[in-house]
Every structure is written in C-alpha cells, then in structure tokens.
Subunit: 208 residues, 2 copies
C-alpha cells in the first residue's frame, strides 16, 4: 500500500465497499473493472488507478473476485478492528445517528451515550443508557473509548475536543457544524458539515 | 466563469464562504491569498487557482476585498436565489435538520414538512406544521417547491424520487442513506451518506 494516498481516493473506498457488498449479497462472485465502473457511474481506468494505490487486487482479463475484494477493502477501511465509541448529545440528532447507523457493522462498538440535559439522562437509546455528561471523565478513565461522536452545539464541541483527546480519544465524528481541527498528528477528525453540503446543492441548482 | 469546474473545487467554495463570513463579521476588510490560505489550512496557489475558475476576484499585491469576495462567492453559490423547499420525514433526523440548519440564510425557504406517521402530523416544527404525506401531491401542485429534503428510509426515498421530479422538484438533499441517482440532467441530488463518512474516519484511524 502506498503512503500519501489522496483524500478523494480514500473517500471513494466506502462507495466501492458498498457496491461490492451489494454484489456479494446478490451472489455475484466475479466482476470486471468495466462492469464495476458501470455500477458506480465511474470509469474502469479510474477504478484500476484507485485500486493500484492499495496494491491492485485484480487479475487482468479475469476480473475481480467479489468476496475477496470486499474483504480486502473492508480490511483497509478498518472494519475488522473494533473501536470503543461514545456518543455525546442525546437530542434529535444523536438519536437519529444511533438509530440510523449500524455502528457494530462498521467496526465501532458504542459503549456510552452522554447528555447534559438531565431530563434525558436515564433514558435508553438502542439498548444503551443515556448518562449524565458529568460522569463522562470517569467513564472514559475506566473504559478507554477511542472514538467520540459529537452531536452537540458548536461551542460544546469546541470545548469538548481537547479534554477528550487528553482522555485518549483519537477519532472524532463531528456533527456539531463547527469545523474542528487539531495539530495533534495522532488524532483524526471527520467533520460532517451539513451547511457545506446544502451550499453544494445550492451551487448546482444555481447552474441549471 | 469556466464550465466544467471540477467537483472538489466546487466543494471547497462553501468553506471559503464560511471563512469570509467570519472575517467579515470580525471587521476584516482586506486579506491576501497567503493569509486566507493560513486560515483555511490550504495554500495561496490552491486558493488563487480555485478562484481563477470563477474569474479570479483578486488584485495582485493588494489582496482580496473581503465583503466583495464574500458577496461574489455567495452569489455563485446561489444564496441570493430563494428556493421553495419541503422536508419529508419529521422523525428525529428531520427535526434535527430543521433545528440545526438556518435554511433561509442559505437561500432555501422551507414551506412544508410531511410525515407518514399520523401521530406526528399536526405538530409544529420551527413554526411549520407537519402535514400528512398523503397531502404532499396537492401541496406541491399548489405551491411548486423546487427542493426536497429527504429524511426518510432508503426504500421511501427511492420511491419518492421520481414522483417528486414529476411534481417539479429539481434538487434533493438526501439523508436516507440510499445513494440516489438520476439520469435527468435538470435534477441534482446531494447525497449525505453518513456511513461513508464513518468509514472514512475508520480508514484514517486504521492508519494510526
């Protein structure tokens, strides 16, 4: 596997994975880069070029072995490595995320949910009790979560970032609408910026 | 403005816009591409190259006029063009989106919310009544929304797409976790795929 793989290439991997998963489920065991390209509305050369960053995978003139390729990309995506995860913010957004995402299937083990509004603590979301955010420090010191899902406001997210890093969290899935950054090389922050996405839609509608 | 501007360039525009909005609010009236690059963790040449797609904006050795540049990028993003918008699905996710996003500021006018679960209809979310989804056709024929925000399940989103296009909707902000596509050149679909975002985080954690 090459180093310094560009961010757009990496961002295409989950799509490849989803497509292979669907093919596998449909019982398709072998596929050419051309057929795969059609399914992904991409080109065979783009797919081959992307796969080459990770060592190639395929056999020329023979096509890809679907279950093998799915497993291989899943491994590259880290799906096989369980990561203890906490979610902060049990409002509408936090609940939507917990209900919509199958964390386990993605290699994330949700071990705790925290909330500052007392009326919401004690409730149970998808089998996990909602705890008071004041208990988060102690919980982290005992359970060592590596990932935090931030479903809180901008200010709260900005205030939570450094303390959580000090508690050993190295991955953030940030829905707060603040673009969080860190100089810490051991930490990765995935910002989900709804507004940027809406403006992208706006741009394209404005071209039509 | 050039045609065929690449998707990564377009996706960077909202970030530029956010940064300029913050600068403008802070009373900063002029900024060089170098200073702007620092704020955006980018490079001056990247920024100048991106801006050149839209005609350049800047004066060499003088820097950019912040309010002018903000207004110009806002115009390119279509913020000045109000677009009638409906939201479908008033569950946790739909409510989170309505509460978190200032649609008006982004040029989207939310005129209706629809839901299939009868117990939720009649409620009011951010001043807008939640209507029964059975009334959506008639509502669209009377009010002509151009944009639909889909906060429904995969299956529901797939079933809603074509009927909504026939009702005149040309823009979709899709949170359903189905990757919706269309061959219709007049329609743009912005898919917000949480799972792909989570797998991107997973990939980067796996590298550390």
């Amino acid at each position: 596997m090459k180093n310094n793989i560009s961010s757009p290439v990496i961002r295409r991997l989950p799509r490849y994975y989803r497509c292979l998963l669907a093919l596998n489920k449909a019982g398709i065991k072998r596929i050419s880069s051309g057929e795969l390209a059609k399914k992904l509305d991409s080109t065979a050369s783009q797919i081959r070029q992307d796969f080459n960053y990770f060592g190639g995978f395929g056999q020329q003139g023979y096509g890809y072995n679907v279950p093998q390729l799915q497993a291989e990309i899943g491994r590259i995506l880290g799906l096989e490595t369980p990561k203890k995860t906490i979610l902060i913010g049990a409002g509408y957004l936090g609940r939507a995320i917990v209900n919509q995402i199958d964390f386990e299937k993605k290699g994330f083990t949700l071990i705790g949910i925290f909330e500052k509004i007392e009326a919401l603590t004690g409730q149970v979301v998808k089998g996990i009790p909602v705890r008071n955010i004041n208990d988060m420090d102690e919980f982290c010191k005992e359970n060592f979560p590596k990932v935090a899902v931030l479903c809180v406001s901008k200010n709260e997210a900005e205030q939570l970032l450094e303390p959580l890093i000090r508690l050993g969290v190295t991955g953030f899935w940030n829905f707060s609408q603040a673009e969080l950054t860190t100089k810490n090389q051991n930490v990765f922050i995935e910002n989900v910026l709804f507004s940027d996405s809406l403006l992208n839609l706006s741009y394209h509608l404005n071209q039509k």
